[in-house]
Each structure stands twice: as structure tokens, then as C-alpha cells.
């Protein structure tokens, strides 16, 4: 289980630049980062997995909190999370393969969202493992292209204010 930092930043190219610049500059060993929009179009949330065996999550957090464009850093460490990944998978699909692909999609609770002359696009959502497995099964037909969101996550069952608001309160 990675240790997640949820970092709310201003939604701009400049602030993304600052965050990535800092992580690179400090050689902080973080895992693959995913980027989510939030209820507020002004914000972006970055989900940054860190391995506590390699770097103290507190240090990553303390460095990120120095940036003015960072509105909030939440350490989700051990908290229970809902984590979802989503992929769009374009597969080569002559019409004789449709049924089989549809059955496979059904099994993964995936959906076919585009039907082209030679290809289908399958949309699959779930844990990273489930999405991996679905893509692996589709390989047999010939996967043309995959885009995926990377994990999006949320802490289960809490009804507090959004992180940025809470942080702003704490700073005041």
C-alpha cells in the first residue's frame, strides 16, 4: 500500500510547473502522480504516492507546503480510501469479435463507448488491478491504444470541509 499525499494546488500550468520542479529539484522519490479536478474549477488535486521506506512523507509534505501555489497538503497515510482508476481501451474489432468483446466487457463491468469501422473503445473503471487485468484480456484482440486516469482517490466516510478550506482555516 503506498502512502498517499493529496495535494490541492491552483489549477494552472505555472503551479504544476512549480510542484514538479520542486519534486525533481529535491530528488524526492515519489511514485506515479495522478491529477484530478475537484468541485472547484480553480483547484487541481494531485495524488502523490510515497514509499515511507524511501522518504519521510513529512519531508515531502513540508517541502510542498513551502510553495505558494499549494493550497493544501493532506497526508492520507493509513486512512481508508476509495481508489478508482479509469481507462479507455481501443481494440481492433472486426464485427465477428464484437460479441466476445462485449462479454468480456460485461465481466469487468466495462462499457463499449465507441464503435468504429475497425475498432471499439472500451471504458473500464475500478481498482488499478482490475483495469490492468481487463486491458491484459483485451490484448488478444489487439489493443491499439490506452489512456488511463491513474488512481483517483477519496477518504471514506468523512464529512468535513474540503481540504483547502480546512487548511485555510488552520492558517488563519
Amino acid at each position: 500500500m503506498p502512502h498517499w499525499l493529496a495535494v490541492t494546488i491552483e489549477n494552472s500550468v505555472e503551479s504544476l510547473n512549480r510542484v514538479f520542479h520542486l519534486l525533481r529539484q529535491r530528488h524526492l522519490p515519489v511514485g506515479p502522480i495522478s491529477m484530478c479536478r475537484t468541485e472547484d474549477p480553480q483547484d487541481l488535486r494531485l495524488l502523490i504516492p510515497v514509499d515511507p521506506a524511501r522518504v519521510d512523507p513529512q519531508r515531502v509534505r513540508a517541502n510542498l507546503e513551502k510553495l505558494l501555489c499549494v493550497k493544501a497538503v493532506e497526508d492520507w497515510g493509513e486512512r481508508p480510501l476509495v481508489i478508482r482508476d479509469m481507462a479507455l481501451v481501443k481494440v481492433r474489432a472486426p464485427s465477428e469479435a464484437w460479441v466476445e468483446i462485449a462479454q468480456l466487457a460485461e465481466f469487468y463491468r466495462a462499457r463499449i463507448v465507441d464503435v468504429g469501422p475497425e475498432t471499439l473503445i472500451v471504458e473500464v473503471t475500478g481498482s488499478a488491478e482490475k483495469v490492468d487485468s481487463c486491458i491484459a484480456r483485451l490484448q488478444r484482440f489487439g489493443v491499439v491504444e490506452v489512456t488511463r486516469s491513474g488512481p483517483m482517490a477519496m477518504v471514506r466516510g468523512q464529512a468535513e470541509a474540503a481540504p483547502a478550506d480546512r487548511m485555510a482555516e488552520a492558517a488563519a
Binding site: R59, E65, M167, A168
Partner: protein, 585 residues
């Protein structure tokens, strides 16, 4: 803005309050600087910053010091800041003017020096198109400033300037930069001029250490048998020297300082172990490495202090006091971390402190101190650099000088052979080790502290990196004293080549000009010293000259080495006190 309004602005008393005025952005920037209490700006004008200099013309209360290279401007700003504690300010144009700041910004970032750089930029409608003298200054300086701002509209300008000042001094000090496109500087707008205090970066602050953490620290101190205070530059930023002294005296704890912490604890005090680290005293390094408790205050466990990190002070617990949470557990794990301003934390901690029994510990330290004093041997003919430095110290100490050091052997000898007693009197480039820092820093320090004697201990190599700062010093008739410890070598590098590269001297010999005549040529006084008996009269002569800078070119033993030395990445057991001779605990 028309001349009538301008004249009014000049005579009106500058009470700091909110007011609304129509003017060009460049003038609003100057208004913000005045409100920040800026008294001197170091810089060079150019195309993109012309509007700013045009506005400057209307603000005679702010002195502008014209430099001959922007690197000098920023080191002057650093010297000013380190001598006064107030942020230094420099102005440059876009492109090459701004990129010439890179070394100084990095230096200030490393040494936590507060300063504000204001750079011109090409007009917004040209930006991104490789316009003449365009450089991506925001991108280039992102990792070497605490924050930087590109001002896109007039309204953003005063806010950016005020925030730049707040952030430069807020928490851990450091450099900030404001990039001002020419079209924005020229645009006229209605400005609301604010009290600078209206601007505050809203950062979450770590809570002040709770009673429990403070008690834990006090308990560790009470239980320790071999405690040591490891005091760094943060104590000087914090103004916590009196609290350090109170803690040391209350608990009878020895104090070692870093290069950046010199002056934070008086070295004429019996508890002072002087500087620790690579070229620190043997007794300071033995003491920290054999300690069972390190109280680190505003110090960042730099590799010049720890040597091989995994072998550093293996039996010590650590209390780490620092204002920057990102410093905690960066290099060395802290047993108790107290995050916040050193002065406030020490004040809260002091009443809880119970003195440990350090009787035996002190006997051990006194033994080390007696066996391994700093030493050198001065003969009849050749000047030993340590002797020259000690003479300079003895002959100037009654003036309580502010001393700037450049980088190299001379820097380490000065760190060793001066007796540092007062914060903000030792100004040097520690973290980046920037050759060329010392002379412009002396100029900046003299602007900040016109009441004090400012001296610069320089190297023959380093002097030639920013020599042109002397021209500025002459122009302003600054009575700074520059002592060049002239060994005709890039001495520190030569020392490493001698000790670790089989004496293969590669690119370290300096075919030097006559520095005294160089000084005379630009209107400074120049004195050349070649024999030991000439040192004292030369220093006295230099002190007598008060209407211009003096350069004293002291020719010293070219192959003298700086000891003690713990070679890079090694441990205290590898301490060399002479070539091939190790210190034994």
C-alpha cells in the same frame, strides 16, 4: 504622472497608510519600495528596466549603487542583508542582466539570506517569442528563489513587491524575485497604495512545540552526560545568541558553531569550542562525535559538518530546533524536533532545563583542547597566512569590525584565527562557497552599517572574480579594508591536489597582476606586503586611510595547508593535523 503631482509626492510626509493614486506601474513599484523602508538598491539599468530607472529618478531618498556586474549587485545585497538583517535589494534589466543574478540567488538560497531581486522583462506581448534580451527568468530562478512573481498587470505589481519582501524574511529567510515586463511598467493605472503589513502569505504554520515536546527535550538534556550545542546560522537569523548563551551557561554545555553560526556564541567564553566540521577545531569535532546528546539549533547537518553521515556522532540523541519543517529528518533523524523560531523556542525551553552532570565530560574536552590547539609556525622570512590573519584580527578587534570572507583556504584560516564574538560580524558564502562573494559583500555591509569598520579577507583567486566591486567602493568613498591573502594559487584546490591527487598541480597556479597597483589604478589605496615584519605596519597604515578603500596585498607562503582537516566523506578518526598525521581522541 505630471511634475506637479510628482513634486507633491516628494514633499508629502511618507506616512504609511492606505491611499489611492493614479500613476505608472514603475512609480507604484517605487512607492512600494519606499513603504518597505528600502534605503539602497544595487543594480545596472538596461532596455527592459528603463521605466523603472526613470521612476527611480524621482526618488532621491533611495540611493542607487551602480555596479559593474550584476553578480556584484546581488552579493552587495547579500552583504547588506547579512550585516543588517533587512532584505537587500537589487535591480537588473531583462535577459543577461537577470541571468547574471543566478549565482547570487543560489548563494542566498543556500545561506538563507533575505533579498529581493527586481528584474525587467520584455513586454508581455513579446514574451515567449525569443524577443531581444528575453530570458525565462521565472523558470531559471524557480529553484533558487523562495518564490518568484511574473507581474502581468499593473494591479499585481505592488502586491508582488510587498509579498516578495514578506516572504524574503518570513520563516526561513531567502531570496525572492519580481519580474516586471516593460509594457506593464509603463502602463498607467489607479493604484491602491497599502501598508506593507497588509500583505501576508497565508501559509499553514506548524504549531508552536507543545509542552510535551519541550519537556522531552528538557529531560534529554537532564539525562545526558556528554551534551553539546551545535549552533548554526539560524541562531543569527533569529537573534537568539543571548538565549544560546543562557542555555549553555545554565546547563554547562559546550558550544560548537558552524561556519554560518560564527558569532552566535562568543569564542572568548570558556564554553566555546569554536567552529566544528571539515576545518573545525579537533576538540569541537571530537566533542560532537563522542557526545550522547546534540542540541542542534538553526543548523542543518551539512556534509561539511558531518563528514560521512552514517558514522557521524553514532551515540548521540538529537534535539533539532529549526524553523523549517523540511529540515527535520533531512540528513539526521531527530529524537525530538522543535519546529519554530529558535529564540522563542529557547525561551520556552530554558525554564524547564535542569543541568546535567557534565563534570567528567568537561575534563575530557579540556584534555582534547589542551592537546590539539589551532597552531602554525611563523618563521623569519616568509609570511604564514595564519600569522597575517591573526595580526589583522589583533589590530582590528577593538573596532569590532564586520568581516566578510571570500572562499578558499583564507576563509577557513580566518574562521579559525579570528575570535568571533558578535552575531552578524562574520559574513561569508557557506553553502554554495561562491568565490567572488567577499568583496561585494563588504561593500553591501558598509552601506548597511556605515558606522562600523568593514574588512574583507580575500584570496588572490577570489578577488579576481569580482574585482570590479572595488570601483564602486571607490566611487562611494567607502573605507573598506581588503586584505588579499596572496598565495599565488587557487590554494584550497591546490591543497586537495597535494593531499589527494599526488601533488599533480593542475590549473591552480595564478599568474597574478600587481594588486596594489591595480587598486591604485582605480583610485583605491594599494599596499604590498612581502615580509613578516611588514604586516603590522601595513595593517596600521590601512586603518589610517578613511576616505577610500584600501587593498593590502599580502604575499604568503604559497604551499601552506589548512589544518585540521577531515577529508570529504571521512570521519573524525581521519582528522589530519598535518600531512600524514592524525589526531587521536
Amino acid at each position: 504622472m505630471d511634475t506637479a503631482t510628482m513634486a507633491q509626492t516628494q514633499v508629502a510626509p511618507r506616512t504609511i497608510r492606505r491611499e489611492r493614486r493614479r500613476m505608472k506601474t514603475a512609480w507604484a513599484v517605487m512607492e512600494a519600495l519606499v513603504r518597505e523602508g528600502v534605503e539602497v538598491i544595487f543594480g545596472v539599468p538596461g532596455g527592459a528596466s528603463l521605466p523603472l530607472y526613470d521612476a527611480l529618478y524621482d526618488y532621491p531618498q533611495i540611493r542607487h549603487v551602480l555596479v559593474r556586474h550584476e553578480q556584484c549587485a546581488i552579493h552587495m545585497a547579500e552583504g547588506y542583508a547579512r550585516a543588517t538583517g533587512k532584505p537587500g535589494v537589487c535591480f537588473t534589466t531583462s535577459g543577461p542582466g537577470a541571468t547574471n543574478l543566478v549565482t547570487g540567488l543560489t548563494d542566498a538560497m543556500m545561506d538563507s539570506t533575505p533579498l529581493v531581486a527586481i528584474t525587467g522583462q520584455v513586454p508581455t506581448f513579446f514574451m515567449g517569442g525569443d524577443a531581444f534580451q528575453e530570458a525565462d527568468v521565472i523558470g531559471v530562478t524557480m529553484s533558487i528563489t523562495k518564490h518568484n512573481w511574473l507581474v502581468r498587470t499593473p494591479a499585481q505589481a505592488p502586491e508582488a513587491v510587498h509579498m516578495a519582501f514578506r516572504l524574503a524574511t518570513d520563516g526561513r529567510p531567502g531570496p525572492t524575485l519580481v519580474d516586471l515586463p516593460r509594457d506593464v511598467l509603463l502602463a498607467e493605472a489607479d493604484f491602491i497604495l497599502e501598508d506593507p503589513e497588509a500583505f501576508r502569505p497565508s501559509r499553514p504554520r506548524p504549531p508552536f512545540p507543545d509542552e510535551r515536546a519541550l519537556r522531552q527535550a528538557a529531560d534529554l538534556i537532564a539525562q545526558s552526560q556528554r551534551p553539546i550545542l551545535y549552533v548554526g546560522g539560524g541562531v543569527i537569523h533569529s537573534g537568539a545568541a543571548p538565549e544560546i548563551r543562557a542555555l549553555a551557561e545554565k546547563a554547562r554545555i559546550p558550544v560548537a558553531t558552524t561556519l554560518m553560526g560564527l558569532g552566535a556564541f562568543p569564542e572568548d567564553h570558556p564554553y566555546a569550542l569554536k567552529m566544528l566540521g571539515m576545518h573545525g577545531t579537533v576538540y569541537a569535532n571530537f566533542a560532537i562525535n563522542f557526545s550522547d546528546l546534540i542540541i542542534a539549533v538553526g543548523a542543518r547537518f551539512d556534509d561539511r559538518v558531518t563528514g560521512k553521515l552514517s558514522a557521524f556522532a553514532p551515540h548521540a540523541k538529537v534535539i533539532h530546533i529549526d524553523i523549517d519543517p523540511a529540515e527535520i529528518n533531512k540528513n539526521r533523524r531527530a529524537d525530538v524536533a522543535l519546529i519554530g523560531d529558535a529564540k522563542s523556542i529557547l525561551r520556552a525551553l530554558l525554564p524547564l532545563v535542569r543541568p546535567p552532570d557534565t563534570e567528567a565530560w568537561w575534563r575530557q574536552i579540556e584534555d582534547w583542547r589542551a592537546r590539539y590547539p589551532l597552531r602554525y609556525r611563523q618563521g623569519e622570512d616568509v609570511i604564514k597566512p595564519q600569522f597575517a590573519i591573526q595580526m589583522i584580527y589583533e589590530l582590528t578587534k577593538d573596532y569590532r569590525p564586520i568581516v566578510t570572507l571570500d572562499v578558499g583556504q583564507h576563509q577557513m584560516w580566518a574562521a579559525q584565527f579570528f575570535t568571533w564574538t558578535e552575531p552578524r560580524t562574520c559574513i561569508t558564502s557557506g553553502g554554495l562557497g561562491t568565490m567572488g562573494f567577499g568583496l561585494p559583500a563588504a561593500v553591501g555591509a558598509q552601506f548597511g552599517r556605515p558606522d562600523r569598520l568593514v574588512i574583507n579577507i580575500n584570496g588572490d583567486g577570489s578577488f579576481q572574480m569580482t574585482f570590479q566591486a572595488l570601483i564602486t567602493a571607490v566611487e562611494w568613498q567607502l573605507p573598506i579594508k581588503v586584505f588579499i591573502i596572496n598565495n599565488q594559487y587557487l590554494g584550497m584546490v591546490r591543497q586537495w591536489q597535494e593531499l589527494f591527487y599526488n601533488r599533480r598541480y593542475s590549473a591552480v597556479y595564478l599568474a597574478n597582476p600587481d594588486f596594489a597597483r591595480m587598486a591604485e589604478a582605480v583610485g583605491a589605496a594599494g599596499i604590498r606586503v612581502e615580509r613578516p615584519d611588514q604586516v603590522e605596519p601595513a595593517v596600521r597604515q590601512a586603518l589610517a586611510i578613511t576616505d577610500r578603500p584600501v587593498v593590502v596585498d599580502i604575499h604568503v607562503d604559497p604551499e601552506e595547508n589548512c589544518f585540521p582537516m577531515i577529508p570529504s566523506g571521512m570521519t573524525v578518526f581521519d582528522t589530519m593535523i598535518a600531512p600524514g598525521v592524525k589526531a587521536v581522541p
